[in-house]
């Protein structure tokens, strides 16, 4: 958002979007809960729940955090962070041989 002078921002348009996003988020929240009540197979349940969460997260990031119209530098930064975040998520999967649970 920064960069554009504040006088040029069409606030009313923004506000309209915020309200729509709010509605979408609320609906998606209800859907996540409803889906969880279905007790799907774990794989599907996880995939679905995380997909919905990702959609919700993206909405927050894109509209509330104005990522949709952000500067290149911020994108570069976030791509970097995302990359390292992925490195981090390799972490549980490089732990082999983690199967024995009793000591003796």
């Amino acid at each position: 958002m920064s960069g554009t002078s504040y006088d040029q921002i069409d606030v009313d348009h923004h506000v309209k979007i915020y309200l729509r996003v709010f509605a979408a988020l609320a609906v998606l929240t209800v859907i996540t809960v409803a889906v969880a009540e279905l007790h799907l197979a774990p794989g599907w349940a996880i995939a679905l729940a995380l997909t919905i969460a990702t959609v919700k997260g993206s909405l927050v990031a894109c509209y509330f955090m104005h990522l949709i119209s952000e500067k290149k530098l911020i994108y570069a930064l976030l791509i970097l962070a995302a990359l390292f975040f992925l490195f981090e998520l390799i972490l549980p999967f490089v732990t082999e041989n983690n199967s024995l649970h009793q000591i003796l």
Binding site: L80, F84, E88, V94, T95, E96, H101, I103
Partner: protein, 587 residues
């Protein structure tokens, strides 16, 4: 923070009181000095701990002379207890890494030099800068204070592996809390450095005109920013394990001294190691990159020619930064890793050695065709090169799993990394101190005593650390309270323990000229000009020492950072901040 209305009457043009000026200052130069002095004090403290350890290693079980009365807890009757030895080891490592080198190299040099080199009036967030220092100080004091806990300081190694660390006495809790403060400090610092470098560069100072030192700080800050949080998460979890009785790192059914441990279990000790090394491998590059930066500046200045291969050095730096996040498990080869995983981490480890080779080669080749001045900073910078060479090269066998089976957790590892950090980074830091001292204080340090400092230090460092490689090859494990005397296979190398210890104490003596030089030079008259080394980078455009807001005139960059000995120029240096004499046609 008292709004001190204290007025100076001795005609200093200052409206800031003593507290605001020296203690709660937001001036990057003051904060840099605070960081550097605190860092040096901690280095000195870590050094003292090490000398105590070396007594025990050289003369296992014999009472330490003089000190017995002072530390009745750890040295009853002067004889060191094994617990106390472990405390010394863990705290030596922690203090040197997190409270010595990082604050000095990044907090000190970074804070003082970086804004000056990019022509900025200060850091982007001065108040955050102050908080960063204060957070460091609190963390440091907690760590220091933990020695006075009834059961002493942390004693599970600087790596704090659980379950040992989970069931260790309360010093470990202090260690964790201290770490959280230190991490917070580094995060705040890193954000500040990054924003400063991105936003406050002077006109014309494009990224590829940045001095190499700035690049090194820039990449270092990224490492700090992105590698520290996982350790923070791990520290929280270990704290929960210790305080709230969780079992993040404790598997079910532990039996400690014949007693079943009353915890829910289900955790994984390996998890800590992953999170720790995810930080700690990038962390070791945090220790070395600023050193590269300092050495590069000094080499360019003292050879009177540009750095050779500046661009490839910068690219190597960036690649190094990236790769440092995917090699962490080379510290964990012997934790039951399978072929695939170990092959992956071996390969990345070998890959990461290549950018280091490129940087080192470029630094060495920069000497070619130069006109080398053997000033004290240059001596330390030159000493750095082969020392880092030995340290880096000994990393190679450790990075290959097969040799690592034999070498893991032996003194070979100790030798490896001390070569990189002690005659490596510490030498670079000494070089930097001698180099920027005139800028910081307006005074010169004595060249003669500088050389008296360098030569013995150089010899003794090698006498300390080379024998460690031999001991390690013989199979001597690290963290041995009796220096490995229990084991028959160490017999042939035990005599080296004494050699090393005497060399270490000798090294202490060799620092006396430095300490005296550092402090006594402060009493000399301020004779340093703005640019005593006839250097090209922008920090030398500011007066020595720089005042409030740093520069007395607007600065901009007109060329690359190291335009030394430009053909056709009358002087052998063409500062970055001097406009071209005969203006070239505008583009």
């Amino acid at each position: 923070m008292a709004e001190s209305e204290h007025h100076d009457h001795d005609h200093h043009h200052e409206e800031l009181g003593f507290w605001r000026k020296y203690v709660f200052s937001t001036d990057h130069k003051v904060i840099g000095i605070q960081y550097a002095v605190t860092g040096m004090l901690f280095l000195f403290f870590g050094f003292c701990l090490m000398m105590l350890m070396r007594w025990q290693l050289a003369f296992p079980g014999e009472p330490v002379p003089l000190l017995g009365k002072l530390f009745p807890r750890g040295l009853p009757g002067g004889v060191m207890l094994p617990e106390f030895y472990n405390e010394l080891g863990a705290m030596h490592g922690t203090i040197m890494v997190f409270m010595g080198i990082v604050p000095l190299a990044v907090g000190g040099f970074g804070n003082f030099v970086l804004p000056l080199q990019i022509g900025a009036p200060d850091m982007a967030f001065p108040r955050l800068n102050m908080m960063s220092y204060q957070s460091f100080l609190i963390g440091g004091l907690i760590m220091f204070g933990s020695f006075f806990l009834p059961e002493g300081a942390a004693q599970s190694g600087w790596t704090s592996y659980p379950p040992l660390a989970d069931i260790a006495p309360s010093g470990q809790t202090a260690w964790l809390i201290g770490m959280v403060f230190l991490i917070t400090s580094s995060l705040l610092g890193a954000i500040n450095f990054l924003v400063t470098t991105i936003q406050l560069r002077a006109d014309g100072l494009s990224f590829f005109r940045l001095p190499f030192f700035c690049w090194a700080q820039f990449v270092t800050s990224f490492l700090l920013l992105l590698a520290f949080p996982p350790l923070e998460a791990a520290a929280f979890m270990q704290l929960m394990d210790r305080v709230a009785g969780t079992s993040f790192f404790l598997p079910s059914g532990l039996v400690v001294s014949g007693q079943a441990l009353e915890v829910s279990g289900g955790g994984s000790p390996i998890l800590w190691q992953h999170l720790f090394w995810f930080l700690a491998h990038p962390e070791v590059y945090v220790l070395i990159l600023p050193a590269f930066g300092i050495v590069a500046e000094i080499i360019a200045n003292n050879t009177r020619k540009p750095l050779w291969g500046y661009k490839s050095m910068v690219y190597s730096l960036i690649v190094l930064g990236f790769l440092s996040f995917v090699v962490w498990a080379h510290h964990m080869f012997l934790t039951g890793m399978g072929t695939t995983m170990s092959a992956f981490f071996q390969t990345t480890t070998m890959m990461i050695s290549i950018p280091s080779v490129i940087i080192l080669t470029a630094l060495i080749l920069s000497l070619w065709g130069g006109s080398i001045r053997f000033t004290t900073p240059m001596l330390f910078a030159l000493g750095f090169l082969p020392m880092f060479g030995i340290g880096g090269l000994t990393g190679l066998p450790l990075g290959l799993t097969a040799p690592d089976i034999h070498l893991h957790d032996t003194y070979y590892v100790i030798g490896h990394f001390h070569y990189v950090v002690a005659p490596g980074t510490i030498f670079a830091l000494f070089a930097g101190i001698y180099y920027w001292y005139p800028k910081v204080t307006g005074r010169h340090m004595s060249e003669f005593w500088g050389k008296v400092h360098f030569w013995p230090s150089f010899v003794l460092m090698n006498l300390i650390f080379f024998p460690m490689l031999i001991q390690g090859m013989a199979g001597m494990s690290r963290r041995m309270y009796d220096g490995g005397a229990t084991y028959a296979h160490n017999e042939g190398v035990l005599y080296l323990n004494k050699v090393i210890s005497f060399a270490a104490w000798g090294l202490a003596l060799a620092q006396i000229p430095f300490i005296l030089n550092l402090f006594l030079s402060l009493r000399k008259p301020k004779t340093a000009s703005a640019n005593p080394w006839r250097a090209t980078t922008i920090e030398w455009a500011a007066p020595s020492p720089p005042g409030h807001g740093n520069f007395t005139r607007p600065v901009a960059a007109y060329r690359g950072p190291y335009e030394y000995s430009v053909p056709g120029e009358s002087e052998d240096f063409t500062p970055q901040f001097e406009p071209a004499k005969a203006p070239v046609a505008a583009h």
